[in-house]
Amino acid sequence: MSAVKFVDHGYADPDPAISAGSGPFRHYELDSAFHDELFHDDGTPRARARRLGTALSRIPPEDLERLQEGVYRRFVHEGITFTVLGVEDVSEQIIPIDCVPRLITAEEWDHIERGLKQRLAALNLFLHDVYHDGKALRDGIVPVDLVLGCPQYRLEMREMKVPHDVYVAVCGTDIVRAGDTFAVLEDNLRVPSGVSYMLACRTAMKWAFPYLYRAYGVREVADYPERLYSTIASLSLAGETPRMAVLTPGRYNSAYYEHAFLAGEMGVDLVEGRDLVAHDATLYARTAAGLRRIDVLYRRIDDDFLDPVAFRDDSVLGAAGLFHAYRAGNLVLANAPGTGVADDKALYAYVPRIIRYFLDEEPILANVETHLCREPDGLAYTLDNLKELVVKEVGGSGGYGMLVGPHATKAERKTFAEHLRNDPANYISQPVLPLSRAGCFVDGRLEPRHVDLRPFVLQGSEKQHVVPGGLCRVALRKGSLVVNSSQGGGCKDLWILRE
């Protein structure tokens, strides 16, 4: 691969002649049904995109190809991979990276940031209420059976004192842009992943577009590991420098790279269940010089597998007695067990009511219209409009267990309708969202593709912090609305502009 010359193409002086459908953007087809983040409907560039458009028009396509290849090789060599467990083997794969950054203005981000902080504050209050007084349930804000019947509800957490009442310290919220507004698609309150790809994309983009990056004035995300460390450390009851570790299921987990990356960047141990020993209601790690106490665990495994004594007894990923140490107050877990009850897809529909109830405020970020199949009206509407809706399992993730009505065959819709009738409480439906599109470099062409966004929010003992960036997922297949990496999605860097 020949070298790419990093030339300042005069990004400070945007080219006014750029337009969709001509020149280097001749393959860039606009569709008025979808908000395009680079161009207005008439093909002229949006104000924020002029510099980017200029850069993309002045860099020869072969150089863009080399940049894309360079970014890919960089990820391969640095091992920025995710693990795929096949039937017979284990393979490492790279999430495809698109080298065109996505842009969000300071004003847009301010709105998102305020909305995310509000949402997380309300959800933490809700979780505390669920596991203590249950006022919101008694007042009918959320149906009692929806909470108590949720598989993620943890009876073991009842009346449990959680340090600083912070149940969710790390949250990854999926946000989509439909038209000119941003809406929350999903809250990930258990073990949200993707932040390492955000950081890896940023490093790669700084390498690929150093002048453009500087010209734009992009908000920095590199301090995320320090923020994460200080956030989780602030929850500790063991002083200012608690002994912290990241708990991973191991290297066959698809997010193992992220676990190792975060542990390394925070300067803490990356432990597996086999490294841990609980003794006398205290958790220890096996070091080469004996057992060493652990005060705080940033756990990246699901509740079920944390402790075979407290939860699933066939788990070999956690440590027997870990939950006992937690209950005894000798260990802090981030996030707390039982947070999944608040990111259930059915409960999602009630989050605006939760915000109003606990904060006495109107939600800043809207929800996506959601029909609960557990309710007769919702089920009837869903069955009548299956062809136009997206149907999801309430506990599903990764793009699995869902039906995209317009893209499904008649037989698939029929099968799903049976599932709905048999177990309606397990499903919700939403309209097919007209996800916004951002410019991408695919197969040597600049074309629009649908994108979403997962910003990360940190909640410490006192402070909240929203990372000015996030994992931006992109549906690289033309016309596809599914952004999951397991379904042909990739990612790209997200630039939050200072001005």
Binding site: G79, T287, A289
Partner: protein
């Protein structure tokens, strides 16, 4: 102090990296001889290399003995089995892969440049078409592999703090070297029979395989006798592939790992390392005590005690730092 599991991963990273290079060095020696040695000498070289790497001889009819089996086998297949055969756990690709897998487990403690260097090397070997590389010259591929492995050693040296992670990596490297060198000296002495009659390999070649020919020539002129060569490769403190050098490094890394800083009571691996070192230093051993003639291959095991001690050393490292009973590790 680092996690016991990670200490083991660093240790095995060091072992597998060293093992890969050891295989590559032996192969490089053998493959360069293909140009001018006759068929019998080449077959003997393969036999020595396979024995030194604890590899089974190639499959042959029941009535064919080991020496003849190597005469029948072709160099391409024998080399491929040690380079690219992923079903052979001792091949270079397997060992490099295991080094990489251990490195994956310790990514949080491994400097990025170290990982990238190791990973690039592995991916390079994995993506290399063995048949094409053979066409460029049999030794070219392993020579490039040696360069990459030494680059890796240099990147480790330049980028890692001298902490426990580095000590366990060094410990693994030198325990592996000690074991491999003992086997090599033993095999060369018993099978290559440099001072014997008939088909032999030379002492000079043993020194070359160990990268010790030039230091030996400077130190002892070109008097290539069994006791002198073996003594040099056992006790010279300056040659990096001497048993003394490896033991010395093992002893110093164990001293660093020891929480008491090497003060008594010493941990069991440390005590054994000192004993091996003393045995090398003070007891000339059977190699020197024996007359300057090659021993009968069946007659004895001049390197037997050292072989056993070097294996025990590994067992003690595992038992002391990794697999200790939980009750022994509880804080007092």
């Amino acid at each position: 102090m680092m996690l016991a599991r990670m200490a083991a991963n660093f240790y095995w990273l060091g072992r597998y990296a060293e093992r890969t290079e050891n295989t590559a060095r032996l192969l490089e020696y053998q493959l360069t001889r293909l140009v001018d040695a006759d068929a019998d000498e080449i077959a003997l070289g393969w036999r020595v290399a396979y024995r030194a790497l604890s590899q089974s001889p190639p499959q042959a009819p029941a009535d064919v003995d080991e020496a003849e089996a190597f005469l029948i086998a072709d160099a391409y297949t024998l080399t491929g089995g040690l380079v690219e055969d992923t079903t052979n756990p001792a091949s270079m690709i397997s060992c490099w892969g295991m080094a990489r897998e251990n490195a994956r487990e310790i990514r949080p403690r491994l400097p990025l440049r170290v990982w990238v260097c190791l990973n690039q090397g592995f991916l390079w070997l994995q993506e290399t078409e063995f048949a094409d590389a053979w066409g460029e010259g049999p030794a070219a591929l392993v020579s490039r592999a040696i360069d990459r492995l030494r680059l890796f050693a240099g990147v480790v040296d330049a980028n890692m703090a001298r902490d426990d992670a580095w000590r366990f990596l060094e410990l693994g490297r030198y325990v592996e070297r000690l074991q491999q060198q003992i086997v090599l000296l033993d095999v060369w002495d018993r099978i290559a029979r440099p001072d014997g009659d008939g088909l032999t390999l030379s002492w000079a070649d043993l020194l070359r395989v160990c990268g010790a020919f030039e230091p030996y020539r400077r130190d002892r002129s070109l008097t290539l006798q069994r006791s002198s060569v073996l003594g040099f490769l056992m006790r010279n403190p300056e040659v990096s592939r001497s048993l003394h050098y490896a033991t010395d490094r093992i002893e110093s890394t164990l001293q660093g790992i020891d929480p008491a800083g090497g003060r008594p009571p010493l941990a069991a691996p440390h005590r054994l390392a000192l004993r091996i070192s003393a045995a090398l230093e003070l007891d000339p051993g059977e190699a020197d005590a024996a007359p300057d003639a090659a021993p009968d291959a069946e007659a004895g095991e001049p390197f037997g005690p050292l072989t056993r001690d070097s294996r025990t050393l590994h067992d003690l490292v595992q038992a002391t730092y990794v697999d200790y009973p939980v009750t022994a590790g509880l804080p007092t």
